[in-house]
Structure formats: C-alpha cells, structure tokens
C-alpha cells in the first residue's frame, strides 16, 4: 500500500490528529533538519513536539547519520531544552552502532577507518586499534602512488563514513585491503546525496558504492539507509508491529524511503533537505512518498 499523496499534519481535524497519535507506539526520529537545523539550533516547536510524544507515552529513539557530532554532543544539545529528558540509549548514531557491532562480534584486529576525527576517537576510546592517518596529499611520482596504495600493514576491517579529506588513494588502499576476503567492510552514513546549503552535495554513499563496485563486495551498512541498521532498529521496537512505528525525517531517500521499506509509517518535515516541490515531483506510489508531511515537527502539537 502506498499513499498517492501525503496527508498534511496541519490540515488534520482534532479527531484525525487523535487517530494519528493512536496509530503508533514507537517513534524513530532523525535529528539534523528535524529537531535542529543542521549543526545549529533547535527548530522552533520541535522541543514541544518531542515533549508531546513523550507525554503521550511513545517510545522515542533518535536515529542520526551525523557522526561529526558525538553522542555526547547530541546529549548536550538535548539537555539545553529544560523540558526534555533524553537518555543516551535513545540515540542511534553510526559511529556508536559500528562500535557496538565490533564489540558484539568480538573484533580484535587492526582497522582502516575513513571517517572524521570524532568517529575515529570513539573507536579508539573503545579500545580498537586504527591505522595511522596516511597523510601526504600531493602524490608526485608513481613510487609514491604505489606506496600510498599498497603500503602499510594489512588490516582486518575497513570502515567508511564521512571523511572530509577522502582521497583517491585512500579509496584505492581500501580496495586493496578488501581483496582479503577476511577483511570486514563496514560503512556508516551512506547517503548518496546530503542536503547542504541550497541543494545537495555528494554524500559518503557515493564513495562507499564506488569501493563496493570496485571490489565486488557489499558493506555492512550501519547508518541510514543500510540494511544492517534496519535489522538493528527492528530489534529496538521488538514486539511492536512495523505499522505501529512512525519514522520522522527530512530526507526522502535516507529517511522516508528507508523507513517505508521497513513497513513503518512515515512523516516528512520540510525543515531540512526536502521541499514541497520535491514531494510533488514524486509519481503516485513512489517508494519515497511519505504518509504524512508537515512544515515542521512542531506542527504535530496542533493549536
């Protein structure tokens, strides 16, 4: 079943709004572009909306793809809203899920990690060993190229998330390491495009896909829109059926498409990466079509 066009939250009658709230028990909610503006302040009304969901007894979990901010930074941001009490367990964060995954499988090897410093730090703090950052951007000779691709120790895992200084040789080195079938291939945030400024920029998913195609291997993707994350979220809502889960996000592909494939209800907010025009351009029944749409998260409180 796919909606031909989303219901607008603001246009729901009081009775329909109650029906909406009664239709789910579990909420998965993105952070950037939904709760707060990307890397900035809370969006007006979103703290009240989160409070409303909690007051109504919804089981609330935040699912972010942003590992540039640590889990602690997410916590500090929530803590600034006096009325909100968010527990660390309520935040699903790619660096943390990868770390948890490595612990769960008893991983002990060396890791080649293409991600931001906070992501790398989280793994180091958890006791994992990472290869040194391989600096030296300017490759001037075939000898240097050879060393950059084929040098260094063998690793037992390659991890790719957002890396602002990703280079061709880092990807080639990852490809080289992944020729070893015992070397794990893990990925965090896997958006093909990320909303940034007035439009989209190329996201980590494009580079993860490049390595996947070059090696013929599929990574375990523990960020949105990854299958491994999907399994993990399923465990989060346990016995609650998928149709009683509401997923709230601002990205049609990474949030809405991802959530619909799990059978969740979906709410798109327009405070982030998607516009009304983006929704209007979807054909009826498109896999990214949300069930509900609202200008901002605060709209669910009604007036």
């Amino acid at each position: 079943m796919s909606p031909s066009s989303p219901k607008v939250i603001k246009q729901l009658s009081a009775a329909e709004r109650e029906e909406f709230f009664d239709s789910f028990d579990v909420v998965f909610c993105d952070c950037d572009g939904v709760v707060w503006y990307t890397l900035r302040d809370f969006i007006p009304g979103s703290a009240q909306a989160i409070g409303e969901l909690q007051r109504r007894g919804k089981q609330l979990t935040f699912v972010t793809n942003n590992s540039i901010s640590s889990v602690e930074e997410h916590m500090r941001k929530f803590a600034k809203q006096a009325a909100l009490h968010i527990d660390q367990q309520q935040i699903v964060h790619p660096a943390q899920t990868i770390c948890d995954h490595l612990k769960a499988i008893g991983f002990e090897g060396l890791i080649y990690c293409l991600a931001t410093p906070p992501f790398r730090q989280l793994l180091c703090d958890a006791g994992f060993r990472l290869t040194e950052e391989r600096e030296g951007l300017i490759i001037k000779s075939l000898g240097e190229l050879h060393e950059a691709i084929f040098g260094g120790e063998p690793v037992q895992a390659v991890i790719i998330d957002v890396d602002f200084n990703l280079t061709a040789t880092k990807l080639m080195h990852a490809q080289f390491q992944l020729k070893n079938p015992n070397c794990l291939f893990l990925a965090g945030a896997a958006d093909a495009l990320i909303p940034f400024g007035a439009g989209d920029i190329i996201g980590p998913g494009a580079f993860i896909d490049l390595v996947a195609r070059s090696t013929g291997r599929q990574p375990t993707v523990l960020g949105k829109p990854g299958e491994a994350l999907r399994q993990l979220l399923r465990q989060h809502h346990g016995h609650v059926p998928a149709n009683r889960v509401l997923f709230i996000g601002d990205s049609l592909a990474s949030d809405i498409g991802f959530a619909r494939a799990s059978g969740y209800q979906t709410l798109l907010v327009l405070t982030g990466g998607s516009s009304k025009a983006d929704v209007a351009s979807l054909s009826p029944g498109h896999a990214h079509m949300p069930d509900y749409i609202s200008d901002c998260l605060g709209d669910i409180c009604g007036k």
């Binding site: 990703l166 400024g197 494009a206 580079f207 490049l210 195609r213």
Partner: protein, 312 residues
C-alpha cells in the same frame, strides 16, 4: 563476411581467411599501453609488426586513454620501442578534448580534475582552468563550504586521471554541474586500471561515474569508448566505411567496445589488461572482439605468410 560469434585467433585462420582478413581493412587504430609497451617493458617485436602493417599499406593511428604522457613524450617513448611515429598519429584524451572544445567553439571557464600533464595540454591550447582545493581542509562543514562553494562561471567540468583526487574536488565539481549550461567532459573511462598481473586499482571511470550519477548529466566522453572520440576520428580521417578500420587493443570494455560502437573490426591482444580466460568468460556481446592474438607481433607471421600472394 562470415558470421563469427566467437573471436578467432588470427594465426588459426586458414590461408584464405587470412588473406581476406588482411584485405578487409585499410586503417588501423591501435591502443598503446599493453599493446606496444607496458610501463617499462616493450612488447617483443611489436615494432616489426607495425612496420609490416605499414608495408602492407595500412594507415596507423595510435589511440590511447593515457594522458599522463604528452604527445611529444609519447613520440620519444615510441622511439625507445624502435618505432618512429609522427605527433599527429597519436590521439590521447587531453588532445582530443582540445579538438572537441575547438569544434564546439567553447569559451568559458573550466574546472578540471586531472593530471598536471593533462592540464598543461588544455592550458597550452588557450583554455582557462581552475582546480582544487589542493590541500587538506579542516574537518568541519564550515571549511568544506568554503572550499566547494564558488561563484565563478564554470561552464565545463573535466575529469580524467588525478592521483590527487579528493572528495572536496568531487563535491565542488558536482556543484558547478548544477548550472544547466555546465558541460561534463570525461577522458579515460577505465573503472579499474591494471597496474601489474592480477593487480587492478580503481580507475578514473569509477570517479567519473560518481559525478554522472550525482548530477544526472551524461558526459561527453573523449577517451575510449566515447562516441565523441569516434566521431572525431572518423571525421578527421574521412572514414566512409567503418568496417574497413581495424581497432587493436588490450581492453574489452575500452578498446573492443569502442571499436564495435564505431562499426570497426576489432582485435584483442593478450599482452595487457585481459587474459585468455577473461576473454573466454566474457558474455557481453559489445565486449566480444572479432579476432584475438597472443600479441600484436602475431601480425609478423600473418603478413609474412600471405605476402607473396598479396603482392603478385
């Protein structure tokens, strides 16, 4: 013409088939790397093979995807393989890109991701290029924004081999491509580059694909197997019957595909990026050559065998 579904080894053809094959083409487009030489090693007797083809009246042009060596250096490298070629016999993506830009009377700013040698060819032809960032950036979205958002009126993005390619360069290229008039031009298309036996590294085609998919723009491809390259070669050489051209190369997805797309006959040599096993495992009809040979040097024997009759 016989209906050949499987590639035939040129030295396993009958005497009659050999003569018909040699008479069936007037012009040879030949790849260079993996056919005439690899990085440091020459393919044994390749020079004699091309000399024999020339004596048999075949016009030779060398069409490479490698812009790391400019035309003059390529002429010198040929000399080391004991072959004298003229600069105009060599086509590489940087030079082809210049021809193409001239043909469309391109005027405008170019953002380029390519090797210093590639950039030099375009600059020397009078084109204005910008590139970068050429240093590491801070690990913040603020610094990323400073490095990728740019208001200069870039009207073409060029991508070829750049061993110093970075994510910020790709993100910046993608932003220029948002402009409806900004062209996407690509050179070499290889998704994997063979660097040694059984060792492939990620090639420029894989990076170009990222821009193609993110921007939704179809590139004009000036390397093999680009249609624009084929059109320019055919025009330059006044080729009226493409079937009377033989494309020789070592790569299925570049050389053979290119030849088939242009309607040329195709010959794969096994001295470079493709093994006999890989050839036999190939199922894509667009990648299947008409003929194959262990080496281009097989032409020496082929032409010697038929020489007496051919010249009677």
């Amino acid at each position: 013409m016989t209906n050949k579904s499987q590639p035939q080894h040129i030295l396993k053809l009958s005497a009659e088939q050999r003569r018909r094959f040699v008479d069936s083409f007037d012009r040879v487009y030949s790849d260079i790397d993996g056919v005439i030489y690899t990085l440091k090693v020459n393919v044994p007797n390749a020079d004699q093979a091309y000399a024999a083809l020339e004596r048999a009246g075949k016009q030779l042009t060398f069409v490479t995807n490698n812009s790391a060596r400019n035309v003059d250096d390529t002429v010198k490298r040929f000399a080391m393989a004991n072959m004298q070629v003229k600069p105009e016999q060599i086509w590489h993506p940087a030079q082809t890109m210049v021809y193409y830009l001239q043909s469309i009377k391109f005027e405008g700013l170019i953002y380029i991701i390519a090797s210093p040698e590639f950039k030099r060819v375009l600059r020397e032809a009078g084109y204005q290029l910008i590139d970068g960032p050429n240093q590491f950036i801070d690990d913040t979205y603020e610094d990323l924004a400073r490095n990728i958002f740019d208001k200069q009126p870039v009207r073409a993005v060029v991508i070829d081999v750049d061993f110093n390619l970075t994510a910020p360069k790709m993100l910046r290229a993608h932003l220029y491509l948002r402009h409806p008039e900004c062209l996407l031009l690509s050179g070499a298309t290889d998704r994997l580059l063979p660097v040694a036996k059984g060792v492939n590294i990620i090639g420029p085609g894989a990076f170009a694909s990222v821009l193609i998919e993110a921007s939704g723009k179809q590139p004009t491809v000036l390397g093999k197997p680009g249609r624009a390259l084929g059109d320019m070669l055919i025009q330059q050489h006044n080729v009226t019957m493409p079937s009377r051209v033989l494309m020789i190369g070592d790569m299925l997805a570049q050389d053979v595909r290119f030849g088939r797309m242009c309607g040329f006959q195709t010959l794969l040599v096994l001295t470079g990026g493709c093994t006999l096993d890989q050839l036999q495992a190939e199922t894509c009809p667009e990648h299947l050559p008409d003929y194959y040979a262990d080496s281009v040097a097989d032409f020496i024997q082929l032409l010697a065998d038929i020489a007496p009759k051919a010249h009677v």
